[in-house]
Symmetry: C2
Subunit: 336 residues, 2 copies
DNA sequence: TTGAAAGCGCTAACAA
DNA sequence: TTGTTAGCGCTTTCAA
């Protein structure tokens, strides 16, 4: 039951607290007799170590936190799944922190009011510029995920966005698309992810010697299939036409698919569509989505590696690791 | 910086620890002079309270845990989102625990090795029978979510599954469906959710005076669109035909949609499809999904209410709360 | 191999 | 209104 202390176990077993502690921690040098006496007492009393006391004594919490805007976005849910699994393998519990994508909440993540909640933080900012992050003092080791070029002092894992969006755009060009649009970035106060992807798209279009019609840059209110579908509908109603679409993420692509179908436009015959993230659902839309797939396991592994090094005492300059990505070709923008 | 203690602040400010503590906690009776002196010292030193120490001293952690099989399943991700928001409003942080749906991990959730990790637990079991849960000793207050009838001693929030599946089946019958199938439950070792929904389906079919062809009960390997699509393909290849489908969840429905389209079957004209959960994606499939929508906010609110009562000391018998659900009619099984 | 005792940093009861 | 002090339960030297 609750309220049983190490002390109580020690008394019942007729040994010292140290011996009980040794047994609890599987310390090798404990005689068989002691061990079994202690174990009997532990189970008789139903003893469980108090984790707050242990944390206070050791200074370690055995927890990491993973922070991003919103778990209900499939990419983050799937990321959380992977990071949880990997963190568990390494002996950590994972605390999920959601910021709703507001700058105020993001600041809270970086400079927590309390110390000692977790041993380290993996954080994908959506609003805070990296430079501001680097200026905030934070007491737990921190690794940043995502698009922004992190400042020199902070560890960072990203994929090569420019290369990824160039690959996607190039795929559409090779399919013969001439009028390619971009969809799904937030209209007001876009996230750093959106900014990076859109600017990469602009570069890719000019690199392909195409001309970008600004009417084909279609922002949405929020990151959601609904808002992206609305944006596409508005563009179509306004008479804008396009034959290819690079989407800020798979959710935007799913919304686009929906709107295009309503207007009788066939995908990929009339409009080819490419998403981003390769969420599970991308395989099951109709048509299935061609999409940029970041190697999320690699992202998570690199982040945890660096975090553990920092926790272990490494205090060198920030490191920037680039994870792989691939273009998964499915029905919405098939092979040429 | 780290390593600054209440004591250090007190010394710098030339006051006692109690005074500093009062300031930190916004205790009303502190003179303005003291307060500003202390606040100056706090910010000069960069003091942050150590949360482990606070927890040890108070016995409260300010954290709740939410446990289920897998955040990457959209229903759980969306549930997590809602519970996090509500818990935050009530002053709790939320720890997410994932069990992978294995009985061993579920037992770990109930009887944690450590005490004092969280103040309370909200748990949606997928494998453990309620009876077994009631027998395990657990030291933090516990509220169960989901389908199983909980034992007398444990608080529980559920929706009326039998009514829900009867509503779905009735909707299909009213549309004129004669051969209605069920899809998406795990073939081996089905989760309690699957068991409940399938058995409810059987009852609903006989209540509608229809005959159930066992070939139309199509299990899948795991909960995923992929496996459900496979199950539907197999049935169609084997020559089984049906005009209505009740799905274990929206993921199964999404897989079914995909398989039906491959076989040239139109939804809803040839086969009407009803999902369960009303995940975000249910609005954006093509056709969009008619689905059973549990009132998840209500589920979360009821669970948190009961949990807070337990944390507050209530120790009466287990309470069973039933949350609302509705049938959201969309394209895959339209109004009749 | 086991025991004794001094913290870890904070809270809260009790005094002043 | 502010100060003093004894825990909270565990870990971890240092001795034995």
């Amino acid at each position: 039951m609750a309220g049983v202390r190490l002390q109580d176990v020690a008394e019942l077993a007729g040994v010292s607290m140290k011996t009980v502690s040794n047994v609890v921690h599987d310390y090798p040098h404990v005689s068989e007799r002691m061990r079994s006496k202690v174990e009997a007492a532990i189970s008789e009393l139903g003893y469980r170590p108090n984790i707050s006391a242990r944390r206070l004594a050791t200074g370690r919490t055995g927890m990491l936190s993973l922070a991003f805007s919103d778990v209900s976005l499939p990419y983050f849910a799937e990321l959380a799944r992977i990071v949880t699994g990997l963190a568990t393998e390494r002996g950590y519990r994972l605390l999920l922190e959601q910021t709703d994508g507001t700058a105020a909440n993001e600041r809270e993540i970086i400079s927590t009011r309390e110390a000692g909640l977790v041993d380290g933080v993996i954080f994908q900012p959506s609003r805070m510029p990296s430079l501001e992050i680097s200026k905030q003092q934070h007491d737990a080791p921190l690794v940043l995920l995502g698009e922004g070029p992190a400042p020199y002092s902070i560890d960072h894992v990203m994929i090569d966005n420019a290369a990824a969006v160039a690959r996607a755009t190039g795929h559409l060009v090779a399919l013969g698309c001439k009028r390619i649009g971009f969809i799904g970035h937030e209209k007001h106060d876009p996230s750093v992810t959106s900014i990076q992807r859109l600017s990469g798209f602009r570069n890719a279009i000019s690199a392909a010697a195409l001309e970008l019609d600004e009417a084909l840059v279609m922002p949405s209110v929020e990151i959601s299939p609904r808002d992206s579908a609305d944006a596409v509908r508005r563009a179509l109603v306004a008479g804008h036409r396009f034959d290819g679409l690079v989407c800020r993420d798979d959710l935007a692509a799913i919304g686009a698919l929906r709107a295009l179908q309503e207007f009788g436009l066939r995908v990929p015959e009339d409009v080819a569509v490419i998403g981003w993230d390769d969420i599970t659902m991308a395989s099951f839309t109709h048509p299935s989505l061609t999409t940029i797939a970041p190697d999320t396991t690699q992202v998570a592994t690199l982040a945890l590696d660096m975090l553990e090094e920092r926790i272990g005492g490494y205090s060198g300059p920030g490191r920037h690791r680039v994870a792989d990505f691939s273009l998964i070709v499915r029905e919405s923008a098939p092979s040429y």
